[in-house]
Subunit: 189 residues, 2 copies
């Protein structure tokens, strides 16, 4: 799925490899079937540690170049010890980083050089839901707002179109705005 | 929202504070309105860096005890440089850590001592979606499977009920299995 050809790097994206990858997947659609994974180990209270390392893609088991660990916890105001962000904050990070990666790829493909891309994401949540105090309140975010600043060598409307196209092709945006079937299996022995 | 009363810690959860918090929110439901936030700065290619620090809750601006930074990237096989997990892997970490935190709180409230909780989460995704090669394929996960192992001082059915109740009260499970409205605003100057 990677190919080393004449390098044509824009925005840090090797566009030759990007297009070669697209062509490789066109020729062999099965290569695009991936499975991503995370492991989680409970530590104490609301504190747990996640591990991200291996995944499946392009027909074989693969591994990141190193193992990533991320602690999650609740802050003291939510009866935790603040050893890491809350799980719902990781969701916001996932959304922003997905839209940003897509934007850089799309800009590179369209020949637009980016000079600055940053964003803030805010999610409103009413904890009466997860606390079980009001059955009319949902557990998760009621809404999420992403504010992007995009600067580069293109007119404003072209820069805006990059964000729009990234949204249209974002895995995490799709996950959050549409439904994903989630199955939970439990072992107790 | 926190209260220091006679300590009664189980599974690392201060259950007196947990119940005091519940009672405080019952008396003042507005305290439960939170806003969580993340910032993201593009670095190069698919590599970006997220920052998580401040949030709003219990009527005022708050801050984590320290600032958290998380890099995200694509692996080489997806034309990135593997400087961090992919955005969609952070989604899996968020789900596992949310279910685990809830499980520990619920076990503590029910007087069940946990000895081991770990989980693996796997998400299947067909990248023909985000690559724009097949309009019939969605961008995000087609399905997610969570496999929990829970051990503690309770019969198997009681341990299984902890996971079920955590699922029923999980913010991230709700976010993934129901829809969240996401608004994107863009500034280009």
């Amino acid at each position: 799925m990677t190919a080393t050809v004449n390098k044509s790097t824009r925005n840090g994206v090797d566009t030759d490899t990007l297009f070669a990858t697209l062509n490789a997947v066109k020729a062999a659609p099965e290569a695009a079937r991936f499975q991503f994974r995370a492991r989680n180990d409970w530590i104490s209270g609301t504190h747990s540690r996640g591990t991200i390392q291996d995944f499946f893609g392009v027909g074989e088991e693969r591994s990141h170049e190193r193992t990533f660990h991320f602690d999650a916890d609740h802050p003291a105001v939510l009866v935790g010890r603040d050893n890491g962000p809350t799980p719902v904050e990781f969701v916001l990070h996932a959304l922003a980083s997905c839209l940003t990666a897509g934007l850089a790829n799309i800009a590179a493909a369209r020949g637009i050089r980016l000079t600055d891309v940053h964003s803030t994401v805010a999610g409103d949540i009413d904890l009466n839901g997860i606390l079980g105090l009001d059955p009319a309140v949902r557990n998760g975010y009621q809404n999420i707002t992403v504010r992007f600043t995009v600067r580069g060598d293109a007119p404003a409307d072209k820069l805006r179109e990059l964000v729009e196209q990234s949204r249209a092709r974002s895995a995490v945006f799709d996950i959050l705005t549409n439904q994903v079937p989630v199955t939970i299996e439990i072992t107790t022995d």
